[in-house]
Symmetry: C2
Subunit: 396 residues, 2 copies
């Protein structure tokens, strides 16, 4: 083992995250470390909270980054809201609904599953049936943007159903935040978590979360202590809360907060609606190219995530070999299938800073070159002209 300095290869990251991190954010990340209780850092924390409120479209004061990846953000929502014996309706249409079920059960709760096919959005009718069948359910949990399949579910409708049946909602917005419409307050979402490494184009490792006042009330009135000390929002609030005096809870990942702040500034500079529109437009261009090549999306058109494009692997293409060639020859990362879809699909991310025309051109060009060379069943040469035509049309 060499054990010398590690210089990562340069990649274009078009998988399911991490996405390309702009140099501006990497530079912010590397600024000199200061103390986690330094007055200057406390000011930064307040700015991050305000910027996250903008990104989530919420006025909730309990909006902050958890000092760990998105899966810890998910766990933060469940351990704080679920108590032993609680019934939680969990929608599963991919990998992450399954992880929600694990979380409910590890909290001593009972998960009532609402199943949909992988690649389909969550069916509101099934959810309504489940809510009616289980009037004692406390929480409805679902994934807004299923990273494992590229399907977008109708969070607004699902949250409305939950409210009508007096249920709290826990919503996975890991892949949706910053990439497609998400309005936490307008839609009445009670607990939501995301990740930094998707459409925020920040480095991985931090999970923004937000809890509504209704959720805060439930947390403040729990019967049992939250089973996780590290993720207990009652304790975290003493550090991230609004008072000038911040109580030590854990040492915040100071430099990661510099990066998150910069990423959120970039989102605000662009404007949330503009960012959503950019993701949508670039998705159409990529889609046009992929379909011209003969690749098929696994998600119905009206439920496709613009930031994550899952397509079936064409006949004659060896999954791992193609991805290895893309990485080795073109320094391009696309995502493999996950869980039930392993070996069946590729997941092409257009997330945050990676949602750029040059990335689309690279991806279509590299896929065409590698698939043609390996003898896969595609329409070689069709993708780039089709994409260019749509791009020119957009610009006209």
């Amino acid at each position: 083992m060499s054990q010398t300095a590690f210089h990562p290869p340069l990649r274009t990251l078009m998988g399911p995250g991490p996405s390309d991190v702009p140099s501006r954010i990497l530079e912010a990340l590397s600024r000199p470390t200061i103390g986690h209780l330094d007055p200057a850092f406390v000011e930064l924390m307040d700015e991050i909270k305000a910027l996250l409120q903008y990104a989530f479209q919420t006025e909730s004061q309990l909006t902050m980054p958890i000092s760990a990846p998105g899966s810890a953000g998910m766990e933060a929502c469940f351990v704080n809201l679920v108590e032993p014996g609680d019934k939680v309706i969990v929608c599963q249409n991919g990998v992450f609904g399954g992880r929600m079920k694990e979380n409910v059960e590890r909290c001593g709760g009972e998960a009532v599953m609402v199943m949909d096919d992988w690649g389909k959005p969550v069916d509101p009718q099934k959810v309504e049936d489940a809510l009616k069948a289980h009037p004692d359910a406390k929480i409805l949990a679902f994934v807004h943007a299923e990273t494992s399949t590229g399907a977008l579910s109708d969070a607004k409708t699902l949250a409305e159903l939950a409210r009508r049946h007096d249920c709290l909602t826990i919503v996975d917005a890991v892949t949706s935040l910053g990439g497609c419409e998400l309005r936490v307050d307008d839609w009445g979402i009670d607990a939501v978590y995301s990740g930094t490494q998707k459409c925020l184009s920040c480095v991985p490792g931090i999970s923004p979360v937000s809890f509504s006042e209704r959720a805060q009330h439930v947390i403040a009135n729990r019967t049992h202590k939250v089973q996780s000390w590290f993720l207990d929002m009652n304790l975290i609030m003493a550090y991230w809360g609004g008072s000038a005096k911040r109580a030590y809870h854990h040492t915040a990942p100071v430099n990661a907060m510099y990066a998150l702040h910069e990423a959120l500034l970039m989102l605000k500079e662009e404007g949330l609606e503009n960012a959503w529109a950019r993701h949508r437009e670039n998705h159409h261009i990529l889609r046009t190219g992929l379909e011209a090549m003969g690749l098929e999306f696994i998600v119905p058109e009206d439920a496709r995530l613009p930031q994550l494009n899952a397509v079936s692997i064409p006949a004659g293409a060896d999954d791992a070999a193609v991805r290895s060639r893309l990485l080795a020859d073109h320094h391009l990362e696309i995502g493999a299938g996950l869980g039930d879809l392993a070996g069946k699909v590729w997941r092409i991310g257009l997330m945050g800073y990676a949602s750029r025309i040059e990335n689309i051109t690279l991806c279509l060009g590299a896929l065409d070159a590698v698939l043609s060379d390996m003898g896969a069943a595609i329409n070689s040469g069709a993708a780039l002209p089709a994409a260019e035509k749509l791009l020119a049309h957009h610009e006209a």
Copy 2:
């Protein structure tokens, strides 16, 4: 709220962590992000594991960084080893023993407390008495280097006692790793966690952990599922484990891993014993100066941590005002007292890269200037000559 780019003030970090991060590590941190399943990243993970084995002085294969701060590393040890009903002997001589108790109870275990005064090391005799009185105890948990008081406990003796009574050990090495002698295998420690932001001089946010084979056997044969999905070592191992095929668990904080790798390289280049000696020698120089100034250590001489110096606040000095002046005028951060010691002590860190002569000179000079100016009861002018004399003696 301004919401413009955040440029942190330049600080010299001599609190209880984060400590000064050398530019070499900040530069590594800012290298371009790659995927968490990229073959190049998987190689880096293997190097980090090997370097952590060196730092911990263990050959255990279950040695890796947890993707969250030290308090999550603590929780990882407890949630994986404690099952409901288990009895755990917890030694408390400061803040962090109390946090261990919280962890045990949140896992459904029973904590048997062995209490020592804040500032004193854990008393092995009391521990032996507790082990004898509770032959059904499964685990002995204690803090090696108490960050809240600056006391070093005899981990070797305590771990031996635990073995003799057929108990597993969980050891908090957050502040000891890289700063003073720690030999996980030789001492027979079963579970140990640390942090990156202390004597490794890395950015905060990651917690290195290691589990012995005995601990691994206990984890693999649990009756109940680990209550945390995010911290379940059975799942984490599928990603960090030895096989070439790595299963996705969570998205690793890729850039933080670049920084940790660089920090561990620096430790290996210096040599573990040399790093321990440097911390010891610089502690003696700082101590000489502080004592010449008239400040008193709260920990008995034979139990003082070289990397964390807790001294009583002298008469006539206003705690918060002094620290504010040090920060505002000299850009120097020292630590406040924590818990029972709040307002009574200062904690001066000489951790990792911050353990340098120029930091000692700055700290003694700034403390002398501020305390004199504010009319505190100190021997003004005595500290720096005393420190210089010892330094010259060392160098001779």
